[in-house]
Symmetry: C2
Subunit: 188 residues, 2 copies
């Protein structure tokens, strides 16, 4: 196992992985297009819908969705233009901004869920049985642990923390909550 040459099974796996990396994101976006959303926008709405008060700091949202802050900022601007979210300043920290799901945004998210589920089923899950799904979860976790955007995964090194960063769908509220979770209700 030299450091330069890959074995044949490795080359096969990597080539297929690369093909999937090339095809899956654009295919997902196309299937979600009827809802007027990109896959990434859907992910944002999902994160907000699951969040307490439907409200999350931009940096927290960026961390959960593995997006850079510049990117997130612009996408949120786009969602604001569509009246699906609003920006509200954080009373506790004037630097921070909360993204808040509007009623319309929540409705859009809920309306899009079946479409999203169908897309994911049609392109990924229908090709796999239950054991395959477990394998997929295992392999992706192993790979994600090595990708480690900043120290979010390896700082602690424990599987729970890794699973948290990788699985916004699993149990988002039990995560360490990167920032101390900005106060939610300024009007109360």
């Amino acid at each position: 196992m030299s450091t330069t040459e890959l074995t044949r099974p490795e080359r096969v796996a990597v080539a297929r992985l690369q093909a999937m990396l090339e095809l899956l994101p654009t295919a997902l976006d196309r299937e979600l297009a009827p809802a007027g959303l990109t896959a990434f926008e859907y992910t944002l709405l999902e994160a907000l819908a699951e969040a307490d008060e439907h409200r999350l700091r931009l940096s927290a949202l960026a961390a959960r969705t593995n997006a850079s802050l510049p990117r997130l900022s612009r996408v949120v601007t786009g969602l604001e233009r569509k009246h699906l979210v609003t920006r509200t300043p954080c009373p506790a920290d004037a630097r921070a901004t909360n993204a808040v799901l509007t009623p319309s945004g929540l409705r859009t998210y809920r309306d899009s869920r079946p479409l999203h589920a169908a897309a994911v089923r049609g392109m990924v899950l229908d090709a796999l049985d239950a054991a395959d799904v477990d394998d997929l979860a295992r392999l992706t976790l192993a790979i994600l642990t090595r990708l480690d955007p900043r120290g979010r995964l390896t700082v602690t090194g424990d599987a729970a923390s890794a699973a948290c960063a990788a699985d916004p769908a699993a149990s988002p509220e039990q995560c360490p909550a990167d920032p101390p979770a900005c106060p939610a209700d300024p009007a109360a």
Copy 2:
């Protein structure tokens, strides 16, 4: 297994897959940056280096790399600007254009291989054992078969054809060769 709701293991697997889809491509590009290449450019050079006479029609190149023709055209233009490939008209079909690897391009590809291998190892393979690699190959094939860019995979439906389209690294010369492989040497 209703058509709307996903099970929890499914959500976990999908969330991790999505995270990987978000992080892996940009991470690969960053690791390959020292070579002055994007991951996609490297893939193109690899395909040409493995091709007969280091020469491939643009449409064949696009098919092998799962890229759209417009995208490929522009990237090839970029590689031409760097003197890594040249465009040569196909004598047999005046519509077609061959991309040909220059000596400099071949050198660049060979020089970049260790860097690419190290990147792939560091971000993917080192996280997996031999059995995991097999699982990865199996899962990605299953998913790719359902993605099916045009009918390239399912037209025949047999595993060999699917493997061919998904595995340029496996045995590119045994593939059906989408176009009849344009004549190579106009000067001979």
